[in-house]
Symmetry: C2
Subunit: 110 residues, 2 copies
Amino acid sequence: MAVESGRARTLTHVDPAEVTLQSALDALADPVRRCILRDLAAHPDWTRPCGTFDLPVKKATASHHFSVLRSAGLIEQRDEGARRLNRLRRPEFEAVFPGLLTATIDREAD
Amino acid sequence: MAVESGRARTLTHVDPAEVTLQSALDALADPVRRCILRDLAAHPDWTRPCGTFDLPVKKATASHHFSVLRSAGLIEQRDEGARRLNRLRRPEFEAVFPGLLTATIDREAD
């Protein structure tokens, strides 16, 4: 699993094809993580730095949520200068878990 | 919420329309509960008594799982003599959470 040292150069990602349904559901069954995913779904890829999400949690907790989403094959991240940019891995995740992401985030905020 | 006394005559059910996405995901994010749902999906309504499911848990734990599934609007139960029969509320649940149940249980056993 991901081992990072602060703002690591090498972010560990997990391919959705390697993700179990259990991990996917665990990742999706958290309201803060669904908030992140909905936000990403509503914006073009790589346009949302981590610091710009309006989340009701502290920075360290938010970092944990982003890490869980990477481990579940739901997001991709890359560092650009001081910013960590994000992309929703919608097509890859959809290919492995058809309908699951859509059923989970394409609703009114819950 | 459901208050039951042993094999109660009145089983408390929750309509899927009253279920939050969070409750639905919490219910689905458990492998034993998905096992129950897959089993029900594979058999005609009302043909599976609780005691006939092949679950890796004790009876009291299984009862808890059935109760969670009722509370999440996923199953309906009724007592018939000594047997408690089950029905997957697939159409009702599907109407409220389109695609979610299918995405979760129509896969190889996970």
